[in-house]
C-alpha cells in the first residue's frame, strides 16, 4: 500500500450531501475483475453527458462542462472537499479505487459512511473528518481562490490552508501507523496466528457446530 505522510495538492469542492458509492462509481464498471482502471469512470454519470459503458475510450466521451471536476481550475486536483455522509450505500471498494486512480490522495468531509471510510484506509486514501464550520470555510475559500491548495500532514494530524492556522483532525492511532508506514493489514494480522489458532480451539469446544 502507498504510504501517506505529507501531501500538498489542488483542492476541489463537491458540494452535496450523501454522495453514495453508486455515484462515485456506477454499477456497470463493477463487472471488472481487476483492481485498476476505474479512474476514468469516477463520478461517471455526473462527469459525462454520454452514457458510460465499460471498455470505452475516455477520449471519445463527452465531458459535462458543468461538473465541478471538469472545470479547468480543478484539473490535477488531489484533495476533495465533500459534505456529510460521503460514501454511503454499497460496500464496493471500487469507490476508493476510482477516487485514488483519478488522482485523489485525501477526501475531507464532516462525516463518512462506515464501510467506505474503512475501505479508504486499505488503499492509502486518507479520509479526514473536520467539523462543519471548517468545511464551510474551506468551501468558501476554494471557490474564491484559483489554484487553491491544502496541505495535509498526517504525522502531525493537520490540514493547513493558505489563509489560516492548521486545523487538527483525529485519526485512530493504529490506522495512522499503518498508513504512515504503508503496512499491509494481512501481514500484520498473520503475526497473530497463534492467537487465532488458540481462539479457534476455544470456540470449537464451545460451539462445535460453527466448524462442522
Amino acid at each position: 500500500m502507498e504510504k501517506f505522510t505529507r501531501h500538498t495538492g489542488i483542492t476541489a469542492p463537491l458540494d452535496r450531501e450523501n454522495v453514495d458509492t453508486d455515484a462515485i462509481i456506477p454499477k456497470q464498471f463493477l463487472k471488472s475483475i481487476h483492481r485498476t482502471g476505474f479512474g476514468p469512470n469516477l463520478f461517471d454519470a455526473w462527469r459525462y453527458l454520454d452514457p458510460g459503458e465499460p471498455g470505452q475510450d475516455p477520449a471519445s466521451r463527452k465531458p459535462n462542462p458543468d461538473f465541478v471536476l471538469n472545470q479547468p481550475r480543478y484539473q490535477g486536483a488531489s484533495i476533495l472537499l465533500a459534505r456529510k455522509n460521503f460514501g454511503c450505500g454499497s460496500s464496493r471498494e471500487h469507490a476508493p479505487w476510482a477516487l485514488q486512480q483519478y488522482g485523489f490522495r485525501a477526501v475531507i468531509a464532516p462525516s463518512f459512511a462506515d464501510i467506505f471510510f474503512n475501505n479508504c484506509f486499505k488503499n492509502g486514501l486518507l479520509p479526514i473528518v473536520l467539523p462543519d464550520f471548517h468545511l464551510d470555510h474551506l468551501f468558501q475559500e476554494v471557490a474564491a481562490n484559483l489554484g487553491y491548495r491544502l496541505t495535509i500532514d498526517l504525522p502531525a494530524q493537520t490540514v493547513t490552508s493558505p489563509s489560516g492556522p492548521p486545523m487538527r483532525f483525529e485519526i485512530e492511532p493504529f490506522r495512522k501507523e499503518c498508513l504512515v508506514n504503508g503496512w499491509d493489514d494481512i501481514g500484520l494480522t498473520l503475526r497473530r496466528q497463534d492467537a487465532i489458532r488458540a481462539y479457534e480451539e476455544r470456540r470449537r469446544a464451545a460451539e462445535p457446530w460453527i466448524f462442522s
Binding site: H34, S111, P173
Partner: protein, 469 residues
Amino acid sequence: MEALSLYEKLWQSHLVHEEADGTALIYIDRHLVHEVTSPQAFEGLALAGRRPWRIGSVVATADHNVPTTRRDEGIADPIARLQVETLDRNVEKFAVPVYYGMSDARQGIVHVIGPEQGATLPGMTVVCGDSHTSTHGAFAALAFGIGTSEVEHVLATQCLLAKKAKTLRIRVEGALPPGVGAKDVVLAIIGRIGTAGGTGHAIEFAGSTLRALSMEGRMTVCNMAIEAGARSGMVGVDEKTIAYLRDRPFAPRGEMFDRAAAYWRTLVSDPGARFDREVELDATRVGPQVTWGTSPEMVVSIEDRVPDPAAERDPVRREAMERALQYMGLDPCTPMTDIAIDKVFIGSCTNSRIEDLRAAASVVRGRRVAGRVKLAMVVPGSGLVKRQAEQEGLDQVFRAAGFEWRDPGCSMCLGMNDDRLSAGERCASTSNRNFEGRQGAGGRTHLVSPTMAAAAALAGRFVDVRRLA
C-alpha cells in the same frame, strides 16, 4: 454480573486480540462470497502466495450479474460472463466447499440463501463483500458488509480488524395497522433518523412490533440498517428464530441442535443493558411508505405529498431536495397518489422471500396490471423461493395479472444485468436504494413494500393498498 447488550455479547465472543487504541482482531465464522467483490481478493491472495485460512467458512453464489430469463443460454454480456466464470474458477482453485452456481437449484441472492440454508446461525459473525449483509443480523448474528481488501483479509486470516461500534436500540412498539409491514417500519425508521443516523453504530431492533414480525420481516428490517448508516442491524433470538433454523441444511442436528439452541437463547440483550442511544417508534402510527427522492431518508406516507424544498431552512439540504425533485421529475406538494409509474420490480435482498411474494400475490390475485405499466416483474430471491412459490401457485397469480415471473438474482435492484430502467422511467420497487441511476442511468426509483408495489402495478400509479377495493 454486568448487563450486556446483544452486540456486546457478540463482540466479546469473537475477540481474538485487542490493540492499545481499541482496534480489535475479531474472528469471522461465516464468509459469504459473490462474483462482483471477490475476484480481486482471490487474485490478491494468490499473488501474495497465501492460502485460505478456513475455506470451509465460505458459501459462494453468483447473484449480481446473472440473467433472470433464458438462463440456459448463459450470460450474453462478455464482461459479466467473465466475472461469473472467474468465480467458478476461484471456487475450484481454492476448493470452496459450497457453491451455488448459476445453474444450481439453490442459487439465489446471497442474503436470501444464507439463512435459507441455515448457513447463518445465531451467535455467528457473518461477513460478505456486500453492504446488505446486515440482513443476517435478524438471526442475532453480528453481520456486516466489507470491501474487497477485507474479503481478502478474511480469506487469508479468518479475522478482521475492527473497532467496537456504539450501540443504538430502536424500539418499535404496538400492532402494525393492516396493510403496513416490515418494509414500512424500516423506511419510517430511516425517515426518522436519516441515512447517517446509525453511522458508527450497531443497531438492535427491539420491541413488540419486531417480536411479532416473522423471520422474513425481521430480515427486511435488518437488511436496511445500512440505509440508516449502520453497518449492522440485529434482533435478539426468540422461539421464532429457533423454529426457522430447525432442519435447515447447515444447522446442527439432533442433540447438537438442542445444545446450540440453549446457547442461542442467551443471545438477547440483558435487562438493564445500556445503549449509547435509544430511539422509539410507535408502530400504530406508521402508514404505507413511499420514497419521493434520491435517498432512502426522502420518504413519506402514501397519504402525504411530495415535500416542498422552500420549507427547508438548511441550505445544503434544501439544495439536495431541489436536486432530488429535478432528478425525479416531481413538483413540490404533489400528492403521492398522483404519481404514475412505468415499471414495477418485486424482488431484491430486501423483499424477495416467500412471505413477500405471498403478500404481493394476495393483492394481485384476480386483477390485471394497468395498461400504462410497461413491465411488472417478480424476481424470487432464490431457486428454492421460486419453487415454493410455484408449488403454492403464486407464479400463476402473477402471470395471470400480467407480471413476468423471472429467475432468481439481484436483478433490477442495481441493474448489473439486463434488468434496468431507461432514462426517465419511474419504478415502484421493493428494493433498498433509490440513488440516482441505481436501477439504470436516469431511472427514477420509489421504494415501497411488496403490497404497495403490487397495488401500484394494478393502478398504474401509487395508491394506498388499504383502500384498494
